[in-house]
Symmetry: C2
DNA sequence: AATACAATGATATTCACTTTCAAGCCATCA
DNA sequence: TGATGGCTTGAAAGTGAATATCATTGTATT
């Protein structure tokens, strides 16, 4: 068991206590599966993964658990406009997304200089910034080669 | 009639000719309404607006027209993860979005300095940038007042 | 005008959530 | 330990924006 993962679990358990919510087997299984992936995922992927291991996990429960993880600050919702809501483990640095308009591949990269600048502009408009998402769309390297 | 709008209309007409598509009254009305707004819009807004003026415009036609505008390079699709697909006039300035996590209000503002910088980073990764979206989430001024 | 297609729009369908509700589970307290 | 109360679960139903269907209508061309 990873040290980081253990801390996240404790963070979640604390969150549940403070809110008067309950630690259930399902929430624990879903959190393990979520932390076990090293990439963003979505409801149905986790749901099918867990159904393969445990026969009694419902779609609605996975849905509610992921939203709960987000509320607890453990997960971050990512919407790339393809009709699916993705979730990734929060914490760590902000990421920018490169979405290929041709093959749909999503590449991530880090760049922190933008965030401060942009957040300051928002504050001038009386807006308190909680998160920033930068999404670039275009053609990835592979697709450029294929097209010549 | 704005000079820029006239050029856009000619661009669209040329696009239709090249593709063997037809210039219809509906497409003309929808394009006028779309260009007449100085902000992003979505299907139902345009649909209701046009229904107020002309009794025979269908939801499906507005939907298809906006996708056609996007294919023609006239419109740009924007998805903010709130379940609606927005469209804004392409070719204008890029816009950044402030989405309130409390009331869902979307505020737009312009800020062009970021784009070049970010696009250059992407090019270094072998990625040809076609569009850039910056989305800030947080609490808007109104909601801050309400909460004290 | 006749013809060949494309476009329209009321309607139905899809699909990814999101909610409902009866049955079950968890934390707490005597 | 056992009762109690409220939270949780999950099958099923509901929601709503997007998309497809198809008979009818419109457009461009000859
Ligand atoms: Mn609708
Ligand atoms: Mn949807
Ligand atoms: Zn690609
Ligand atoms: Zn607000």
């Amino acid at each position: 068991m990873n040290q980081t993962k253990q801390k996240v679990k404790e963070q979640f358990h604390l969150f549940l206590s403070k809110k008067g919510l309950k630690a259930t087997l399902q929430r624990s299984l879903i959190l393990d599966a979520f932390l076990g992936l090293d990439r963003s995922t979505h409801i149905d992927e986790l749901y099918l993964l867990l159904r393969g291991r445990h026969s009694n996990i419902g779609h609605a429960t996975v849905y509610r658990a992921l939203r709960l993880f987000a509320a607890a600050g453990i997960a971050r919702e990512v919407n790339l406009g393809d009709g699916l809501t993705r979730y990734e483990v929060a914490g760590g640095k902000r990421r920018d997304y490169l979405v290929c308009n041709d093959c749909g591949t999503v590449t991530e990269f880090e760049n922190s200089t933008i965030a401060r600048h942009q957040a300051e502009l928002a504050r001038n408009l009386g807006f308190t910034v909680q998160s920033l998402k930068i999404e670039l769309r275009g053609i990835c390297g592979n697709c450029q080669e294929r097209q010549g």
